[in-house]
Amino acid sequence: MIDLEKHVVVIYPHPDDEAFGASGTITQFRQKGIPVTYLCGTLGEMGRNMGNPTFANRETLSDFRKKELIDACKVMDVELRMLGYRDKTLEFESRDEIAQHLKKILEEIEPSLVITHFPGHAVHPDHNAMGAAAIEAVRLMNPDSRPKVWAQAISHDHVKLFGEPDVINNVKPVFDQKMRTIMAHRSQAQGVLGSMNGNAESAANMEEVAKERLGYESFYTWKFD
């Protein structure tokens, strides 16, 4: 599944979306020397997790998450661009404006593959809005120079609706690196992993649960027209 791409661009709205959703795949691309750029929509300003025990508050959270995002990108060894939108508000912005913003960046980078969320099936409204804008951005590009799009669905019913995703990456061989990327998001990691399994008390246990839940990263290749 990990072909020799020219350049991969990952477009998600929150610091840590890349870690949980695609850091294994990103690592596999980087191991082949393929450049990866992460376009991160917001700084997760409105996140609920404040660390456990809490060390952030609503006003300091974005500074922590910005630093965590930079650290995570260092772990993955990818280029980072922060797009400057605000958490929770993406679906209320003009989709066309976000799409134009993204299109400009894509035309500059000329990636061969774009990874984003599957609009309408990515649970969080920001995921759906960013995914829709990303796909619109690619649709607006010249069909001859369009990158492929891998869209990630999170909703419980996507397999029932669309069948198994056509791209399923086993990222267990690089799971240590994925876990390091997740843990770089210090304010979020424990809370998010905990919500996947309330019984994961110890760190070792948590890693087992994470491997079970996050050991495969799957995407649907988007069909234009």
């Binding site: 997790n49 404040m50 609503r58 006003e59 419980h156 919500s195």
Partner: protein
Amino acid sequence: MEPIHIEEVQKQLDRLANKEVYVHLETTNGAYASHFNENAYNVGAFIRNAKVNYLHGKIVGDNGTYRVGLKLDIGWVYAEGVNQWELDEQDRLLMAGHDREGRLMVALEISEQPFKN
């Protein structure tokens, strides 16, 4: 943030009364509530930088959970469930309620300067 100290918070509410202040008010159970629990229902609301001038503010409660009400000329600002507070380096009064895992459930913040957009 620290556990609410009711006298200290009241002192700050008094300091910020009868002047133009900016309020951040928020409650949420998270965007994934119904994803992880099909019986849950996602709710949330926030107002960032509401400009108000309150006549008086009061904090009430016990057993580690508190309610705060700000009486306005023409209405009220209300938050239930705050349990921690902080006066930050910009003299902003930050109050919030977290669940056992440290997730924010409610926040009420008052500042003499607008909060970062």
